[in-house]
Each structure stands twice: as structure tokens, then as C-alpha cells.
């Protein structure tokens, strides 16, 4: 069983669109399971059109909540501000009417205020951070999630999604797991790639793209995970796209190809299809251009 994770470094390079295209190709070839680990603003489901079979709440860490009946700082005689003094995250505000109140979005869940409140008036409750789902789709089973707004994105939800995808894949005898990873270089990306068999970095031919590619590539090296690169929207600046290819050659990074900018990608997204499905439907379409699908298919063959 092989696990392939698609990441980008920079947002908006086309990671999710490409994942959907790979999913189309993978589903033709054999049994595959899919995971959307871009849990902060997840979009893969907009193409996959999942029918949710299982829904699970995601609980992680704790959050502090002041019991107003026990708070000493409400009312005109209110004077205690111990929790506010101790909180390093600026998460506690005060009003004479209601006393101290925790802004749950800013609360780090460290427990300091809970421990030191003189009346033990602060509760430490399980924090619900989001939900994750196991769904049926036309490509195969999809494990995906939605993080609540301002929730901590430690990577734990990402790990949960990946773990479930593996479990489902084992149960189905699938030989491939394709993961739509997160942008950036922090916890969620790290949690997306550790232990993966292969990572694909989707980049764009811009200075920002190259800058972010190098950072996320060094992250993959830091965790000793093999990775390859594909340049999307390559004809926006062919010179830079070529420079990226050279960078890959110089650094011993497998290069999967270049995909031109094509409105078909957006059209496909609007139809709720992958670009491959969309172009198959259109046949020889109005622009007479089927390049995008062929190039993606070529990249997929190189990858597998």
C-alpha cells in the first residue's frame, strides 16, 4: 500500500485541483482511498461530492471557562484579576458586570488560570475543535474533516484523518492512498507528510512560488521524506518554470512536468468535476486543447 501526499508550500498553486485529477486517474487504475488533510478550509469535497457515512466529533485539548457565580471580580467590589495577570495569551477579559470571561478562540488550553483561581472558579473542559467524516464518493472512500473556526490546528486532526484513511484502505484491500495536504510549513503539513511514501510538491512559476517551494522542500528533507515537483500554470512565466526544473535537476529532485494555465481547470471546478472528467466530457473542446489532462496523466505515470 502506497501513500502519496500532495502539498504546495504556497497556497493557490492548484494542489486540490491536481489531487482531484490524480484521483480520477487512480480510480481508473485500481482501488484507492482518499484523504483531505487540508483541514483548515478544506475544498476537496467540493469536487468529490461525498455522501457522508460516518460523522465524528473531534475533541482536542481543553479550554478554560469561568463560572460567573464563583468569580470574585464581578460587581462593584470585584477586585481579583489573578487569571488575567497569569494568562500569557491575552485570552481573559474583564467586565464589572459579568466578571472575568475567557475568549475561547484565544485560550491556549494551558490550565494556568484553572489552577490558580483562588475560588477554583474556572472549569477546564474538553475542547471540540471540529468534525471528521468517512464518506462514499464516485472515486472511492474519502476521509475528510472540517476544523472549527479559530480552532487549534496542531496536526492532530490531520493525523486522525490519515490514520482513518489507512484503516479504511487496509479494510478494503486498497493499494493506494492519496492525500490532499496542507499549505505552509507548520504542524499540519508536518503531520501530513511524516511516514508518507511519496510527496508531490505543486508549485507555480513565480518568485513567491519558488521561495515557498524551497522552504517546504527543506521541510520534507528535514523529515527524510522523498519528494517530487510539478509546476502548475507554467506558461505564466516559462522562464521561471524552466528555472524551477533546473533547480530540481541540480538538487536531485524528480520533476514530474509542467502544466499550462488553463481555464478548463476553473470550468471543471465550477461543474464540480476534476479537470480530467471535464475534458473527457468536452471531448475536443472549444479551445481544442486537451493538453492539461495529458500532462497530468503523464505526471501521474511518472509518479506511480
Amino acid at each position: 500500500m502506497k501513500e502519496i501526499v500532495i502539498i504546495s508550500g504556497k497556497g493557490g498553486t492548484g494542489k486540490t485541483s491536481l489531487t482531484a485529477a490524480f484521483a480520477t486517474l487512480a480510480a481508473k487504475r485500481g482501488k484507492a482511498v482518499f484523504a483531505d488533510c487540508d483541514v483548515d478550509a478544506a475544498d476537496l469535497h467540493l469536487v468529490f461530492a461525498p455522501e457522508i457515512r460516518e460523522r465524528h466529533e473531534f475533541i482536542s485539548g481543553h479550554v478554560a471557562r469561568v463560572d460567573p457565580k464563583k468569580c470574585l471580580s464581578s460587581g462593584e467590589d470585584g477586585s481579583c484579576s489573578k487569571c488575567i495577570e497569569l494568562c500569557r495569551f491575552g485570552a481573559i477579559k474583564h467586565s464589572y458586570k459579568t466578571g472575568c470571561e475567557v475568549d475561547e478562540g484565544s485560550c491556549e488550553g494551558c490550565g494556568v488560570c484553572v489552577k490558580f483561581c483562588p475560588t477554583s472558579g474556572i472549569d477546564f473542559i474538553d475542547r471540540r475543535c471540529g468534525e471528521w467524516y468517512v464518506s462514499d464518493t464516485r472515486f472511492g472512500t474519502l476521509v475528510h474533516a472540517a476544523l472549527d473556526t479559530r480552532a487549534e490546528n496542531s496536526g492532530k486532526l490531520v493525523t486522525t484523518v490519515r490514520k482513518e484513511a489507512k484503516r479504511v484502505a487496509e479494510g478494503q484491500g486498497a493499494d493506494l492512498i492519496i492525500v490532499d495536504g496542507s499549505p505552509g510549513t507548520g504542524c499540519p503539513v508536518i503531520a501530513s507528510i511524516t511516514g508518507a511514501d511519496a510527496v508531490v510538491i505543486v508549485t507555480e512559476p513565480t518568485m513567491s512560488g519558488q521561495h515557498d517551494l524551497e522552504r517546504v522542500a527543506s521541510l520534507a528533507r528535514h523529515f527524510a521524506i522523498p519528494f517530487s515537483v510539478i509546476v502548475n500554470k507554467a506558461d505564466i512565466n516559462q522562464t521561471m518554470a524552466d528555472a524551477t526544473e533546473s533547480w530540481c535537476a541540480r538538487n536531485g529532485v524528480p520533476f514530474l512536468g509542467m502544466i499550462p494555465y488553463d481555464r478548463a481547470v476553473t470550468k471543471a471546478q465550477i461543474e464540480g468535476k476534476s479537470v480530467i472528467e471535464h475534458q473527457i466530457k468536452c471531448g475536443v473542446d472549444k479551445t481544442g486543447n486537451r493538453d492539461v489532462s495529458q500532462l497530468i496523466a503523464k505526471a501521474w505515470d511518472l509518479l506511480c
Binding site: S60, S154, K156, C187, T194, G195, A224
Partner: protein
Amino acid sequence: MKIAISSSGSTLEDTIDLRFGRAAMFIIYDLDHENFTSVDNEQNLNAAQGAGIQAAQHVVNSGCQALITGHTGPKAFKVLEAAKIPVYLASGGSVREAIAAFRNGSLKAISEADVEGHWV
């Protein structure tokens, strides 16, 4: 002497859980008295981070003098090393089989973490 084994279930017939930090359970086996207890690792499955460290701490607190598991990451390994608890790697099979292999010396002890850390 007591040893800890990461397990997928609470009996000796269950397969060994190859993960350490996020193992389902731990079996604490007393080699001298030939009895054992099982410890649920559920709270670790809920840890946002540092599950390996927490699991290592539990192994230390349990008084075990050796651990049998599939893999450990660098932080967990650091804790076990500081507590002078050797880690033996098994590649599968039941808990009972792992104990037998340990007894006849056919399990290998590792001198450093065998997998990269996870951050989660």
C-alpha cells in the same frame, strides 16, 4: 522483572501494536510471577502532541524494566533511554509470541529511535 508490550488488545493473544505513543493498550507482564495487567492507552490517543512522551512516562511509572514495541520516535526514545529502559523491536505476531522471543533473546534492542518524530 516486569516488561511492557504495546498491544492492540488486552490479552496475550492479541497482536502487538507496532506503534508506541498511539498504541491501543499496554500489557505489563511480570516475568517472575507469570501474570499480567493491561493498561488502556486511550488518553494518549487523545493527546494533541507528545503522545510518545506520555506513553514513555507511563512505562517508566509502571516499574517496567524493558519495552517491546514496533517503533519509537526520538522523543519517546530519549525518555526511555534516560530511564535506562531498553527498547526491543518486534515486527508483528501476538503479545505472547513477543514475550517468548524476548525470553529467548531473539529480539533486538535498539540504540536510537528508529523512526522520525511526528509532532503529533
